[in-house]
Amino acid sequence: MSEKILAIIPAYKEEERISSVVKQTIGQGIPVLVVDDCSPDQTARVAREAGAMVLSLPINLGYAGALQAGYHFAVKMDIDYVVQLDGDGQHDPAFCSVLLKPIIKGEADVVMGSRFLDPGSYRPTVFRRLGQRFFAQIASRFIGEEVTDPTTGFQALSREVAELYCTDVFPEDYPDADLRIILDRLGFRVLELPVRMYASEGESMHGGILKPIYYIYKMLLAMLVAPIKVLPKRRA
């Protein structure tokens, strides 16, 4: 039985980098869906020319909204396994198969790529690293397992998890450490594997002064609520 795999790449203003990411991912034998988050540049056209299917959002929904649009597409197309990576070249597409392997073998429901388990990956700035470590510690305490990279966007998931991510359980803005807690509560098997990541050349979603402050507030609140959040029941 041939299983359907799809790579979802949310993209915003990535006309200069998206072609390379798409081509490298297709080179892994994985069809690609680029979710163009209402980019004001030629991201959609460049992605299409590189061989990707493109879902163009009429309004900017942000990273989480674009990802969720991708999940909806995957579920509608009856995809069995999803791998998601960034469109700015931060995630090395050669590791897509590494992340997908345990899902296809039935050993995990979600595999998260951790840059901190790979010695060759770039390391974020001190402040970002401190923040990531802080949220990783909180998530680790809740879950009872070590979480090394709570903010990774390089992941592979099973269809059941993709269906879950199509619901309101999926965060509106930053799908990070709080989602780990929710997955654990629902009994999904989550694995962390080393992946290669590079420093992002594009605009950071955490840039400026207000955004990081809001991010810290939002993540603290989300992680406080995640253990008591009302969740949908998993199908038997």
């Binding site: 009429p58 309004i59 309101d168 359980v169 509106e172 803005d173 809001y214 507030y217 939002k218 609140l221 989300a222 406080l224 609520v225 008591i228 959040k229 009302v230």
Partner: protein, 129 residues
Amino acid sequence: MSPMQIVFVLIVGFLLLGLLLNLIRYGTLSEKYSLVWIVIAFGIIATPLLQPLYNVVIDLFGFVSPVTFYLVCALLLVLLLLLQFSLAFTAERKQRKRMIIELAMLKNELETVSLRLDDYERNNVDKKK
């Protein structure tokens, strides 16, 4: 503040905080729009502790009584909430307009494709005749 006033303020503050967390828990209130409310809840809870600071502000700005000061603070927070709603509403309106235009264009494309399909079928029927 008298002990009973402190108890009253703490009850109100914690009730509000509990209500907010419950609304967020059910997904009825998003974290984004809870920020000002959470600040209000913590502000209420912290009032007994911050009383000395409030007294300095009351004397500095010449408030007639602490109650007047609290009323002005409450009014300012309500104005802040209204401003947040106005900004959110403006953004939603712009997005709605964009989606309506997009929908109209999709509808037009669909009608064009449907007409072409009708023409194609008509031509095929004519050829068979």
